[in-house]
């Protein structure tokens, strides 16, 4: 394991801020893994810490294939963890909306440019991402439909689902998009949680990355073969919203739960009276893919996303 400086900058009160990367093996730039970009991505950083330890052990055993190099960048934005902010400490900007970046621009733009410069050229790029909505997911690999995405490669992670998604207006300023445009096969791995540590799904995320690296001939590691992923289009997921009322969100199902059409899957509870303000019904048979995880919800909040007409 070699520690390297990805980017370093001077700050007014925190001294030098340095983004570190860790390389395993030598030679061809084979796989690059990027962790937390936001200061609330505890799960993403935790997965990187587990992966770092595992890759170090594998390297020590000679299990990184000769002539292959892996780069791991656990966090681009640890200052925001330190001050309890989600976005960049000084101006609240989002590094994952700053790509491809500008080396002469503002701080997050400079970080994006420096990181993209360091991670371009790798054959495979993996990012542990969080979604723009707070909540819990079934673990999955997400790919943007840039025209360069490969679902068959995404399948090699052996995660339960591969989700393809149409480009949103802001996607062109994300790492994943810019990675793909520069020729790296890029994947976003969603492990289920963000602001809390989910040990089981963190371990599964580590296994899925090690499985992928093994199948791509970058490391030698014996592990369970995982799933043959179900490929979903994000547009096929059905949103269930709190259309009628706000209040406490008492959810009765979890990601992965199979539900029947007409089944009550949550209650919205009036915070003053304790009365049920609304029952949330499953409008279709299917599997819960996403759940909101806030204790209380506004009206018109997305509470669930359901995979229609699929069974466990």
């Amino acid at each position: 394991m070699t520690k390297k400086v990805i980017y370093s900058m001077n700050t007014a009160y925190r001294g030098e801020y340095t983004i570190y990367g860790y390389t395993f093996g030598n030679g061809e730039e084979s796989a690059c893994i990027v962790g937390a970009m936001r200061g609330n991505e505890f799960q993403q950083l935790y997965i990187c810490s587990l992966l770092s330890k595992k890759l170090y052990e594998l390297e020590g055993k000679g299990s990184v294939v000769s002539g292959k190099k892996i780069l791991l960048i656990p966090s681009l934005n640890y200052s925001s963890f330190n001050v309890g902010k989600k976005y960049w400490i000084s101006d609240n900007s989002d590094i994952n909306r700053a790509f491809p970046g500008n080396p002469e621009g503002q701080a997050t733009s400079r970080i994006a440019a420096a990181v993209l410069n360091q991670v371009s050229g790798y054959a495979y790029g993996i990012q542990f991402a969080s979604f723009y909505m707070e909540g819990d997911f079934i673990p999955h690999v997400r790919m943007m439909e840039t025209g360069k995405q490969s679902t068959s490669l995404a399948n090699q992670f052996g995660m339960p689902y591969v989700l393809t998604a149409e480009l949103r207006s802001y996607d062109k300023s994300t790492l994943n998009y810019n990675w793909q445009i520069r020729g790296t096969e890029a994947f976003s791995v969603y492990s289920g949680a963000t602001e809390t540590i989910d040990e089981e799904s963190a371990q599964n995320a580590v296994s899925s990355v090690l499985r992928f690296l093994t199948r791509m001939g970058i490391i030698r590691y014996n592990c369970h073969a995982g799933y043959i992923s179900t490929i979903l289009d994000e547009e096929e997921l059905l949103n269930i919203k709190s259309e009628k009322a706000s209040g406490f969100f008492r959810k009765l199902v979890r990601p992965g739960t199979e539900v029947k059409r007409g089944e009550i899957i949550a209650n919205i509870v009036n915070p003053m009276t304790g009365e049920i303000a609304d029952d949330i019904y499953a409008p279709t048979d299917g599997i819960i893919f996403y759940t909101q995880n806030s204790p209380m919800v506004y009206q018109n909040t997305i509470l669930f996303k359901i995979i229609r007409r699929l069974h466990n």
Binding site: N10, A12, Y87, R97, G105, S109
Partner: protein
């Protein structure tokens, strides 16, 4: 007539409502032109609050001159205005990245979709901004390159110092004006001053500019002359000046003043050692178009923009 465009129950008891004031002649013919004025997408930008008040007050003073429709939407992000938050509180999302929004989406996307739908059908829309807490801006219209030829004749009547043709975040994909232009509404951003403050001189000029436009559109039955001939700024006309050190910025020039090439814009000083870390010089002769307002600086912070001439 006050109308509610979108409303949603908040967590406990309160309701968030986006409202508009629909100002129209008492006996409309059905062929009236329609101008929409939008403000408060960013909750820390308050100049638009005064502009909406003053515009409505002046229209009501001489209501007989109103020959078309003026829809005023003063607060698109009302929770942000109450909470002094640029973004949508709780969701921590910039409202002006969510357009065109989605009826199926979560709170912010749903609001964006409803607001967009309500404004569609307008002939022209002006989205009023007042910078951020970091920079003070001269009064300007911002438009994106792809619609510049269509919009410049209208922007020129807005009584602003500059029309800046630039892919700013407020006119890029995801913004309200970008979605409106795609929907056939001529939409532009007015930017001036600094967040959290109202510059009444700038604000009154913007109100005068809106009356110029209303007169041209046949909405206001009185000739109105603009007092300012706007200069058109393309990207090559504007130099960005970023800090290369950190500390406290002490300006040496006034905002909107003329500056010569090589003149000192300001210094960045170290508050612990009492030393000057960096003296920042102007790369060209011109006008101080934007000037740093918030004094805490990090490497990369935008200190000024200079408009005019070239670097040579």
């Amino acid at each position: 007539m006050i109308e509610t465009v979108v409303s949603a129950d908040m967590l406990i008891e309160e309701v968030v409502k986006v409202k508009k004031n629909h100002l129209a002649p008492d006996f409309p013919s059905g062929k009236e032109k329609r101008l929409s004025i939008v403000s408060g997408l960013h909750g820390d930008e308050v100049a638009g609050q005064y502009i909406c008040y003053e515009l409505i007050r002046r229209i009501k003073m001489q209501f007989e001159k109103l020959k078309g429709i003026v829809d005023v939407y003063p607060f698109i992000n009302p929770m942000g205005l109450e909470a002094q938050s640029r973004v949508i509180p709780v969701f921590d999302t910039d409202m002006n990245t969510l357009f065109p929004g989605s009826e199926e989406g979560t709170f912010g996307e749903y609001t964006a979709a409803r607001v967009l739908q309500d404004i569609k059908g307008s002939d022209i829309c002006i989205d009023i901004h007042s910078s951020s807490v970091y920079l003070k801006e001269i009064p300007q219209v911002r438009i994106n390159e792809d619609v510049a030829d269509i919009l410049i004749p209208y922007a020129a009547r807005m009584n602003m110092d500059v029309i800046w043709v630039h892919p700013s975040s407020t006119v890029m994909a995801g913004s309200l004006v970008h979605s409106l232009n795609e929907a056939g509404v001529k939409a532009m951003v007015v930017e001036s001053g600094v967040a959290l403050k109202i510059d009444y001189e700038y604000a009154n000029r913007i109100v005068d500019g809106i009356f110029c436009l209303m007169s041209d559109m046949g909405i206001w039955d009185e000739p109105v002359e603009d007092s300012c001939i706007s200069k058109i700024a393309r990207d090559s006309d504007v130099a960005f000046v970023n800090a290369e050190s950190s500390g406290i910025f002490i300006p040496a020039v006034s905002h909107s003043a003329r500056i010569g090439k090589g003149d000192v814009i300001g210094q960045i000083v170290n508050v612990l050692t009492g030393s000057v870390e960096e003296t920042i010089y102007s790369p060209r002769a011109g006008i101080v178009f934007s000037l740093r307002e918030y004094p805490v600086i990090e490497e990369g912070s935008l200190v000024a923009r200079i408009f005019g001439g070239t670097d040579d």
